[in-house]
């Protein structure tokens, strides 16, 4: 697709035509056109930006999908299979173009349904991800009828066919003779967020024949912090407290299991009690998993999340669970150290999966920062250590503390976590995390350093089991606090950015000789 910024007037015809062609419910716009303003009075530019699924050549939504509901066809179209999708929303948070929506309940424009709405309702889309399909059915049926997409309106996506400014062009980039290939070859263009490596397949034209367009000045912080600015990403709502709970409980419990197994192996933890500790970790992990189960749109299909082990960290996480629980159960039933070691490895894998799930959510700058997986991993271990400390106090004789390697390990974990958070916060701006998310990160910093890092470090110095347990509580609280905040509060979407602005009109038909006069 080629979108010409010099043509689009923001009339919303494509948006409405798309809503008709695709029967989308109230509030859902697969094709959205933004009204963008930049500059300061009186030097102001205003333009209209066509957004929607970019059908990326390297779509970040496809590998993360745990079910294979989102796929990329041979011709490049990124498709959705509503009957397979479980509505986990991983694709939605992985999309840097805010192209995906999940609608959980039926909605009607007038509050109650009309006969027409009943007729065009799509129950199969409830609770699952939906997005622009480039009107794939129209394209396929048109081609089958011998029509050319992009040329014949009946074989062209509705937005393009309906556009009253000829701003949206559709065609096959693989065909050098196609209209879009010619437009893209003959005019400079940019791709949205090209730096993310998604190779989006909407190319934006910004020049006229005589005027090259111009570089856009970076947005000032005030504008980027303005939620009413359409370029600013909104707070994602796909993953709320329920998803956050999985990182809190899952991270702490898997870390607990890993620390317990490692502690036992290293002789710091009483090995006889390991199976009980693992059982406790399993209970905590189950709470997290239950929370995230509540989050998904199509709960009865949850098992489908097992089908993309080859690419999705979410599938892999489930496989880790499928190994962890039998291993723990086997341990409880008296199986030997192999089962316990297996449980430890599964827990470690689970923790790594958790770290990678968030990191691979490419649509959320605060999540995809390179330090995020390390932070989740390190925090999981620290929280696990904290839980071990609590367990030790509740259950005397579990482990030795003062002067032990355990003490050293704990302090090392605290320092590592503090350092990671410091680095994360300091690099946030350079990593493209916007001011709204940074505000959340800033707000978290002092309480986190105090409760989650300083208090545990100080208490760990004492060697007293009760104080150790207090340190553990603080460490767990700190980990839960930042993870909850980053997942549920700092999850601002990517938003949009324009590297180039169109320069409207050129005046190239002026006769320069006539401009000069005495």
């Amino acid at each position: 697709m080629v979108v010409d910024l010099n043509r689009c007037v923001g009339c919303q015809t494509c948006t409405a035509a798309c809503k008709h062609a695709n029967d989308t419910p109230p509030g859902v716009q697969w094709r959205r056109v933004l009204d963008v303003e930049s500059g300061t009075y009186p030097d102001v530019q205003r333009l209209f930006l066509v957004t929607g699924c970019q059908h990326c050549a390297e779509p970040p939504c496809v590998p993360v999908c745990p079910t294979g509901a989102t796929r990329q066809r041979a011709d490049g179209l990124v498709t959705m299979d509503y009957d397979v999708c479980i509505g986990c929303a991983y694709c939605a948070v992985s999309c840097p173009y805010q192209a995906r929506t999940i609608v959980h309940d039926e909605r009607w424009y007038y509050g109650k349904e009309t006969v027409q709405e009943r007729k065009v309702a799509h129950e199969e889309r409830l609770g699952v991800a939906q997005k622009c399909t480039f009107c794939v059915d129209r394209v396929d049926e048109g081609k089958a009828a011998g029509l050319t997409p992009g040329v014949d309106p009946q074989a062209t996506p509705a937005c393009s066919a309906s556009c009253i400014a000829q701003a949206i062009h559709f065609g096959d980039f693989a065909d050098p003779a196609s209209n879009v290939s010619k437009l893209a070859a003959g005019n400079p263009s940019f791709q949205m967020h090209a730096e993310l490596g998604t190779d989006p397949q909407i190319k934006y034209l910004y020049t006229t024949p005589a005027v090259p367009g111009r570089d856009k000045e970076p947005e000032d912080e005030e504008r980027l912090a303005d939620p009413s600015n359409p370029l600013v990403g909104a707070l994602q709502t796909f993953w709320d407290w329920r998803a956050a709970m999985n990182w809190c409980f899952g991270g702490a419990s898997s870390g607990f299991a890993v620390v317990a197994v490692l502690g036992a192996a290293a002789g710091m933890v009483n090995p006889a009690r390991l199976r009980v500790l693992l059982a406790a970790a399993a209970v905590l992990m189950a709470i997290g998993l239950f929370c995230v189960f509540l989050e998904i749109g199509r709960k009865l299909r949850f098992w489908r999340a097992l089908t993309r082990l080859q690419s999705s960290w979410m599938s892999r996480e489930l496989y880790a669970v499928l190994v962890f629980y039998p291993a723990v159960l086997a341990g409880l039933l008296g199986a030997g150290p192999v089962a316990l070691a297996l449980a430890g490895i599964a827990a470690l894998t689970f923790l790594i999966c958790q770290a990678m799930i968030l990191y691979k959510a490419r649509g959320i700058p605060a999540w995809r920062a390179p330090l995020v997986p390390w932070m989740i991993f390190a925090s999981g271990l620290l929280e696990g250590f904290g839980l071990l400390a609590i367990a030790g106090w509740l259950w005397p004789g579990l482990a030795a503390y003062a002067g032990s390697r355990l003490q050293l390990a704990g302090i090392t974990l605290v320092i590592a976590n503090a350092a990671l958070w410091y680095a994360y916060r300091s690099s946030a701006r350079s990593r493209g995390i916007g001011p709204l998310a940074r505000r959340v990160i800033d707000r978290v910093t002092m309480p986190l350093h105090f409760v989650g890092h300083a208090i545990p470090a100080l208490l760990l110095l004492s060697g007293d089991p009760a104080l150790f347990a207090l340190a553990g509580i603080a460490a767990v609280a700190g980990g839960a606090y930042w993870k909850f905040s980053v997942v549920a509060r700092a999850g601002y979407q990517q938003g949009f950015a324009l590297p180039k602005l169109p320069q409207r009109g050129s005046g190239r038909f002026a006769a320069p000789a006539r401009l000069e006069h005495r």
Binding site: D4, Q29, Y41, Q45, Q116, V120, A158, V211, G507, A510
Partner: protein
Amino acid sequence: MGEKRKIPVFCYQCVSGPDLMKVEVEDGIALRVESNYDIRGEHPGGGRVCVKAYGLVQKTYNPSRIRQPMKRTNPKKGRGENPGFAPISWDEALEIVAARLRGIRERGLRDESGFPRLAVTTGGGGTPVQYMGTFPAFMAAWGPVDQGYGAGQGVKCYHSEHLYGELWHRAFIVSPDTPYVNYIINCGNNVEASGGVVGVWREADARVRGAKRVQVEPHLSITGAMSAEWVPIKPKTDAAFLFALVHRILCERNWTEVCDVPFLKQRTNSPYLVGPNGWFLRDPESKRPLLWDSADGAAKPFDANVGDPALTGTFQVAGVELGPDGEIIRHNAAQAQPAFQKLLDHVAPYAPEWAERECDVPAATIRRIADEYLAHACVGQTIEIEGMRLPFRPVAVMLGKTVNNGWGGYHACWARTVLAVLVGALEVPGGTLGTAVKLVRPAASRTGSCLPGPDGFMRYDFNPTSREAWESKPHIRNAFRTLVPLVSNSPWSPALGPAHLPWLFQKQQPDHWPKQTTPEVWFCYRTNPAISSWNAPEVAERLAEFPFIVAFAYTEDETNHFADVLLPEATDLESLQLIRIGSTKFTEQFWKHEGWAIRQPAAAKTLDCVDMTDISTELARRTGILQEYNEAINRGAAGMGLRGKGFDYALDPAKPHALEEIWDAVARAASHDLSDGKEVHGIDWFKEHGYMLAPFPQLDWYLHPAMTRQNLRYELPYQERIVRHGRELAHRLHETGIEWWDTQLKEYEFLPSYERFPDIWINYAREVGRDPAEYPLWALTARSMQYSWGANVGLPLISEVAANIAGHRGVIINRATARSLGIAEGDAVAIESVAGVTRGRAVLREGIRPDTVLMIGQFDHWKTPYAKDLKVPSLNTLTSLALSLTDSTGSGSDLARVKLYRE
């Protein structure tokens, strides 16, 4: 599940239509809308429809629709009164209305003041005609109907352009010749939001081609966004900016080099000699205006064989001046100057530095824009169109609403047209063109209306101002024939007269004027003046005083709240009509085809509504005017005369005809006429094919061929004829004792002089006993592509998509201004003028002058379902209905002085 079908219909919700579409239908339920791509090769907008068309499905199935006829049970009328509408049958409803109408016919069609007892108001810039079936035939059959109650026209239209544009170059609406234009100076014309599909389509092509547009307006509109440059001018000072452009060209540049001098000499009144009293100096015998032939140093009639007409200088000439009321002033040796010399002297004071002080645009910018305009004008170049060589002048000047109406509108309109004339860019390829005619005849042919009139100009039928023929007793309540000579007397004239005066006079009876009665029966169709008028709340109060209102009703709304009978008509996708399409039409519909298109029932009715044609026929029958009604249809009241050259499809006048029968006859006549009898199609053919076309010559986009063929001149820059009418009108009014129109009479000038137009609105506060300093800001409005003319505020789909465009949820305020007032994004604010207060959310933007706030569209609904919950502010609550804000053509301007505060 039934079979899906796609049914062709037209969309004419806005004045920039019609555009053709198809409705996908299954089991009688309209599912979706899409463009009718069949016509993409012929339709100048690629066959597309715009966003508004997509609202029609929701419009059809709106659960708040009036489901059957209703009658009022609460005799008290008021905004706070519950009308108590009770369902009745169609028979009862029509009988209630018919009984009233029969009563009128018995007592006389005019009341004791001479005003029609029946009044009808339709809104939407004339678009309701495309939906009202044969209702025009009912009105024609009825006799005198007062169609002069405005629903917002005067402030919501391009009023000066309508009137002066039509006089000067048959331009009810002006458009650039967009496919060829290369430079456009655009004072506030928001074509990207209000120019419809074709406007957007053609302007986008021009932009990508490299045409440059300079947008001059107080806020950065959609159109400003798409322009090469934004010039944030102070509201209502566009005339100063335009005068300075004229000054730059005539007084600072060498006009003999940069202007199209042959055009000025041959196609305008520039060389006409002006006598000492301002009237053209004429040949004593023939009374033809004289000009000075420099070739042999003698004065000659304008149409004599003149070697070289002088444009400048002072000449001693014998002749006569014709003043008002037949006054003849004889001169044996008058000092006479060509009109062009008068123009040069007139614009000399309007230097860019002067304009900068008035309009806040830097003098250097004004000079640069004038120079760019000249540089693009291509004076001397030609282009071949359909085998004919025409001048090529790819420059245009456009004016928007509020620039173009009310005080200063005439000045801006005059200056714009003079700018075109100076470089010969009027009505030639690339230049400033008219699109359609509504005041002159024949209505169906703009070039055909280019007929010879007096003094070498085009004919124009002013409303008479002579002692004998002046209409001293207004025939309708807005008195357009009495007060506005320029508005002429066509079917459109009542709506283009001072259409707010009836509301105003109903509140305050003017001196020496017939008693301002209310109509005994008022029909309102597809209009909501209680929302769309200037000072809408006050209009609502007047409506409450009407004794009997018949409202063709879609849902309950702020106007039919006062109605006595609600008649639910079959709406857009439920009714049948054939309309003319193609040729040239506003705002940018320049076709190379003309023909007819159908709107037909696509959706099965889900409630008890009736097609307007059937309602009209039944009303005519019950009122006893069936014969006249059918004859009106036969004459062409349904859009096409049923008798014509070689055909006669006339209906039997004696009996009522079914809906399909009427439109079948229209279809046959229309297709016969279009194809010279070669292809005659009935309505069923149209239902299947949707439209029928025949070629229309592109040469007819331009008046130039007709003007040169008849050797006619544009009546510019000098306004002798208008002033004569103005002076005569002054005599007539003063003879009657009327002095309340005196300010308006001052606007009649040979060459318009600038005055400080903003002060008129600033000082209005004093007139109502307030201090102007209380209201430091300007409030303006702008059209919304999603809403304008659509009557679609009650459709949630439209509301949803419109919200993507800034301003649809509140009032746009300059960010710095808001900061200084302690207002943040989304804050609840009140905007208050002397007329009222409106409330909404603050929307902060940089693209607006710090002294200006903007409210898009028309809102402030308090009854219309869904819309009443939007809580969006409206300028219509803030504007004042006042004589002092009314110009001589009877229009006001859509702006107000306001204060703004956080609530």
